[in-house]
């Protein structure tokens, strides 16, 4: 029984620290993962800031690229290379790379469909629909036309949120299916079904 104060736990693994840190920033999760993907190739710090500022997600982030980078440095997902100053570079650490890979290989999508089999059809429908960018209302209209009556109703944002979190769709003024999800959809359209066969993770990033 908890005594109301957190017990001392054994030290988490570096990858877990990064995972928890990113998970604790749901509003900036997409940007943080993109930064890690970006810096898998070392880049000048200034270039990173500029690139990140251009992300669609940053338009309404309440934080600056500098703050996000600072968080990633603090949790060990990024490391600086060189002396602070004009020549400083940023690189994703090994643990940071693990986190990127775990988010991008399609595994989360596979797990989502296994975890929510009742909604599998709608999830795939949304993925297919958003191959062309769609607004939330367009997705909602498409789903409403055949909302099943045999289970508690969910709203369109249930699907959007779950797919976004699983890396299946991303927001850039409209919802769009990610490359990872497109690849998986193509594979499902052929006979090779990664959701059954346990096919290879696609290492391509969403950035």
């Amino acid at each position: 029984m908890s005594e109301g104060i957190e017990q001392v736990q054994s030290a988490p693994e570096p990858h877990q620290v990064i995972q928890q840190r990113i998970a604790s920033e749901p509003g900036d999760r997409a940007s943080l993962l993109k930064i890690l993907a970006l810096c898998q190739v070392p880049r000048p710090t200034a270039e990173v800031y500029t690139t990140v500022q251009g992300y669609a997600e940053m338009a309404v982030s309440i934080h600056t690229p500098q703050i996000l980078v600072c968080w990633l440095l603090e949790c060990g997902a990024l490391r600086p290379i060189g002396e602070p100053g004009e020549n400083e570079m940023l690189e994703t650490t090994e643990a940071g790379r693990c986190e990127v890979e775990s988010q991008n290989c399609g595994q989360l999508l596979r797990q989502l469909l296994e975890r929510e089999p009742e909604y599998r059809r709608e999830f795939l429908e949304v993925l297919e629909l958003c191959v062309s960018p769609r607004t939330r209302s367009e997705v909602e209209d498409a789903l409403e036309s055949h909302a099943p009556a045999d289970r508690p109703p969910v709203l369109v944002s249930f699907y959007l949120d779950a797919l976004e979190h699983a890396g299946g769709i991303e927001w850039n003024h409209k919802w769009q299916t990610t490359e990872v999800a497109k690849h998986l959809l193509r594979e499902m359209q052929t006979d090779s079904n990664p959701f059954i066969d346990g096919g290879n993770c696609d290492q391509s990033t969403r950035a």
Partner: protein, 891 residues
């Protein structure tokens, strides 16, 4: 000639800071009503007449201001409810105003949540950032994924959050109170009477403030303790009434000061109130102590009820062309069913009780059904369930029933477990069958109002028309708990579950204007995973709390001494006027308006409507300044806000005009008949068919049709044994003690735990425990104890007292501001809401969960939690310090 108020007495009060004394000394001072009083002062000090808002009593205050600083507070004798009294909460206003830890300007989080790293930002940046995030969230996920919350912790403008949510077109807002605080009573009395409930703390029961004239002979304080909850107003008034010979009965697990002065104290087992109320009903019916004539003519108890459909029989069902609005009685004279035209027909002899058959269908009178419902609850049975002495129960009932006019004030205690609405219905039933309605001495009255504070006692209307039908139907919990519709609120546990499961959708942006959600939400730690999933949390308050640690943007709210508002008291209207303004704090009423304006500028269609005078009409478009809003409300007084400030207080009618009884008998000029009560039948609806209709349709509150709840709401009070019970089930074996909470005179909900002098009085929460219970569990006076439930484990300091029943323990809410920067943020060490229960079963009408009446166990602890402040010297860090005059800031 008015005597100078006892300045020596006030100095004494300030020195003692013991609120109970304040109530005891404010009697018989002979202040004249209606004369402006301002004490003589010197040295460039000005006196500002204002009203407190340290709690919801709004007592009158005279603030002494010198060189722009508030240097002294004292009560205002002109206030007809507090009459110059002031409690410790109000007197702590100076320390609250100048607290060194005030939120001074908007701040944005730059560290991880909980790291307490912030960057100062401007109001422009704060509003712009929040507005853009809200627009993006709406576009991506839908407006319903944004939700608001507020609290009763002295919030001066309760409906601001609801109005904002309607403007943004999200149906979701909640407060930790609502279904757990006051809504059950406003709902029950509103549906059954069409008038105010009998809460003293919420400034009803206004009959009590005329001690020289009110004939009330006996007052029952059921789950309420005015000496603690409203010491300067209600508590003070009761001192006078008891001194004049009024009897009193207190039903409360704790021996409060009111209980100590009562003729009878019934230390009821927490959570069992409807059982005792049904016992009272049964006794009163059996002994014919009810007001037969009143029940017959002014309640719906003689009406016939179809026992299968549970609906009242209408004339339209009896014969073709009959009225849908005329109900049917059994006429003893003709031994047949007859329609009873409103209000009465002397030609009929309606049966009050009985069972009858009409065309093969069984009907019973409402009275018969009430009798049947109460039948099992004999004195012995109630005593067994409620852990009381049957003789004391009987004594209490007879005091109430044989000393009339009497009154029963119901407090928040019964709102805080799943029997909530049933308790409120039980209290309303008792008052109604006793005829304690709108006659001199009765607590249930519909006295006049000025119209300046039209929404309960608030000036901001929720503007329901802004919320679209499509969005309204997405309100979380709205189908099952339709009673929440009276307050337009969502069901807090349903919001939590939606966040955690993502179904039916995931709320993700949280705008909160209140104190410490982690101190007051039930099962507080269950909210942490939900908080961690928020894309954005905005917290608006006067100082940081545990909840602030998880926020992304902190906004500085004004303290009550910096706030303008209209306050109505009896037949007078006061101006609460800001006496100073510090840093960049903003009245939240204005913040929400600015946010709506910003959203409108970004293209939010509904927010554009919210600022459009043509669309909003008499609901008021959002204002550009507080003066604009206040001027509009002051039109009801035929003056401007500036004029009200100069003249305050203003009598909007004479006391005689205000003190009108028997409103139901006043003739309606349109019909030529008595106006009746504010119900569909114009009778008191003791048989609350309206509850059935509410559950099936949402009427009268739902602006759009809703599907029915999973089962019908009960039209009569009933009793359910608490889900965690000491007498049944496995939980009670492992956790044998019943936990209850209750007010203290020095706090209001989660507030003032950071007030230095108040913390000196009460540095740590006390666990009240009976000597026998203490001995059985190995704890003694002054020990520290662990208290544990199925949900958590905390500590408190033991107070051994016979002032709590055997087998019951008491503890008030608490959190530790001194630990804000620590790992726990001060909400887990000694917070009783780490133990409370927010899971089903809920009250079926409003969804109440369990804050009182659940099971705990205790054991001795080695000492207090690490780092908590206990010694007077510890709190010096919170004392205001002199500084240069603060710059006047316009925001």
């Amino acid at each position: 000639m008015i005597n100078q108020p006892g300045l020596n007495r006030r100095e004494f009060l300030k020195a003692t800071a013991i609120t109970g004394v304040a109530a005891g000394l404010c009697s018989g001072t002979g202040f004249a009503v209606g004369k402006t009083y301002l004490p003589h002062v010197s040295g460039g000090t000005r006196i500002v007449r204002t009203c407190c808002r340290a709690c919801i009593s709004n007592c009158g205050v005279l603030a002494h201001v010198k060189n722009g600083r508030v240097i002294k507070l004292e009560g205002d004798p002109e206030h007809p409810m507090s009459r110059g009294a002031m409690c410790a909460k109000g007197l702590a206003g100076i320390q609250a105003l100048y607290h060194p830890n005030r939120n001074k300007y908007p701040m944005k989080r730059v560290g991880a949540r909980g790291e307490n790293k912030w960057r100062r930002i401007s109001w422009d940046e704060a509003l712009d950032t929040i507005a853009r995030k809200l627009m993006e969230t709406r576009e991506k996920y839908g407006a319903e994924t944004v939700f608001g919350s507020t609290g009763g912790g002295g919030n001066p403008e309760f409906w601001s959050v609801a109005r904002f949510c309607n403007a943004f077109d999200t149906p979701n807002w909640f407060e930790p109170g609502c279904a757990q605080c006051y809504l059950p009573r406003t709902l029950a009395f509103g549906m059954m009477y069409g008038g105010p409930d009998t809460s003293i703390a919420d400034s009803n029961c206004l009959e009590l403030y005329s001690p020289h004239t009110t004939p009330i002979k006996c007052l029952v304080l059921w789950g309420t303790d005015p000496s603690y909850s409203s010491p300067a107003s209600g508590g003070r008034a009761l001192v006078e009434l008891r001194a004049r010979g009024m009897h009193s009965v207190v039903v409360d697990p704790r021996l409060t000061p009111d209980a100590a002065k009562a003729d009878v104290w019934l230390p009821i087992r927490p959570g069992t109130d409807p059982a005792l109320m049904l016992c009272w009903i049964r006794y009163i019916i059996e002994k014919h102590l009810y007001d037969h004539d009143f029940v017959m003519k002014w309640t719906n108890l003689p009406f016939l009820v179809n026992t299968k459909t549970k609906m009242l029989l209408r004339e339209s069902e009896l014969r073709p062309g009959g009225s849908e609005e005329t109900f049917v009685v059994w006429d003893k004279a003709t031994n047949s069913a007859k329609p009873l035209p409103y209000p009465w027909d002397d030609a009929l002899q309606p049966a009050l009780a009985g069972s009858y058959t009409i065309k093969g269908v069984e009907y019973k009178t409402g009275f018969e059904l009430l009798k049947e419902r109460s039948e099992p609850y004999t004195l012995a049975k109630a005593a067994e369930i409620c852990w009381l002495d049957p003789k004391q129960i009987e004594k209490a009932i007879n005091l109430y029933a044989r000393n009339t006019p009497s009154g029963m004030s119901l407090g928040v205690a019964t709102d805080q477990n799943p029997n909530s609405v049933q308790s409120a219905m039980g209290c309303a039933t008792l008052e109604m069958i006793m005829g304690n309605v709108e006659r001199p001495g009765a607590l249930m009255q519909r006295f006049r109002s000025s119209g300046a504070t039209p929404i309960f006692t608030y000036i901001v209307s929720p503007a329901l028309k802004l919320l679209s039908e499509k969005q309204f139907k997405k309100r979380l919990g709205v189908v099952e708990y339709k009673g929440l519709l009276q307050w337009l609120a969502a069901h807090a546990p349903s919001v939590q579950q939606a966040i955690l499961t993502g179904k039916p959708y995931k709320p993700r942006v949280w705008l909160d204007r209140s104190g410490n959600k982690f101190a007051v939400l039930g099962n507080a730690s269950s909210w942490l995973p939900a908080v961690e999933q928020m894309d954005l949390i905005v917290h608006t308050y006067m100082y940081p709390t545990s909840f602030s640690a998880y926020a992304d943007i902190l906004l500085p709210a004004t303290e009550w001494l910096e706030t303008n508002m209209i306050v109505e008291a009896i037949n007078r209207v006061f101006a609460r006027q800001a006496v100073t303004h510090l840093w960049e704090t903003m009245d939240e009423t204005l913040f929400w308006s600015k946010l709506v304006h910003r959203l409108a500028a970004l293209g939010h269609e509904n927010c554009k409507r919210a600022i459009d005078p043509v669309f909003m009409g008499n609901e008021l478009p959002y204002w550009n300044s507080m003066e604009e809003l206040l001027d509009t409300r002051c039109k009801a007084l035929n003056m401007t806000w500036a004029e009200l400030k100069k003249k305050t207080p203003v009598e909007y009618c004479s006391f005689k005009e205000w003190n009108q009884h028997y409103v139901y008998k006043q003739i309606d000029p349109k019909t030529g008949k008595p106006a009746g009560f504010g119900t569909g039948s114009k009778k008191l609806e003791v048989y609350a068919e309206s509850m059935i209709i509410l559950g099936r349709t949402g009427k009268p509150f739902a602006p759009f049709p809703l599907p029915p709840a999973s089962r019908d709401y009960d039209p009569l009070p009933h009793y359910l044994e608490p889900a965690e019970s000491p007498i049944a089930g496995e939980v009670g074996k492992k956790f044998p003690l019943v936990m209850t909470n209750g007010r203290l005179p020095i706090f209001h909900h989660g507030t003032l735990r950071n007030s230095p002098w108040i913390r000196e009085i009460y540095p740590a929460p006390e666990l009240w425990i009976h000597p026998k219970t203490a001995a059985a569990h190995g704890v003694a006076q002054g020990n520290w104890a662990w208290i544990e439930s199925l949900r958590g484990k905390i500590r408190a300091r033991v107070r051994v007292t016979k002032g709590i029943a055997i087998g019951v323990v008491y503890m008030e809410r608490f959190w530790n501001p001194e630990l804000l920067n620590g790992q726990t943020h001060g909400w887990r060490e000694m917070n009783v809401n780490m133990l409370s229960k927010n899971t089903a079963p809920f009250n079926d009408v409003v969804g109440t969960y369990t804050l009182r009446g659940y099971q705990v166990r205790i054991s001795k602890a080695d000492g207090p939690p690490q780092g908590v402040w206990l010694k007077p010297a510890d709190f010096k860090a919170w004392l205001p310090e002199p500084s240069d005059p603060t710059k006047l800031v316009e925001v």
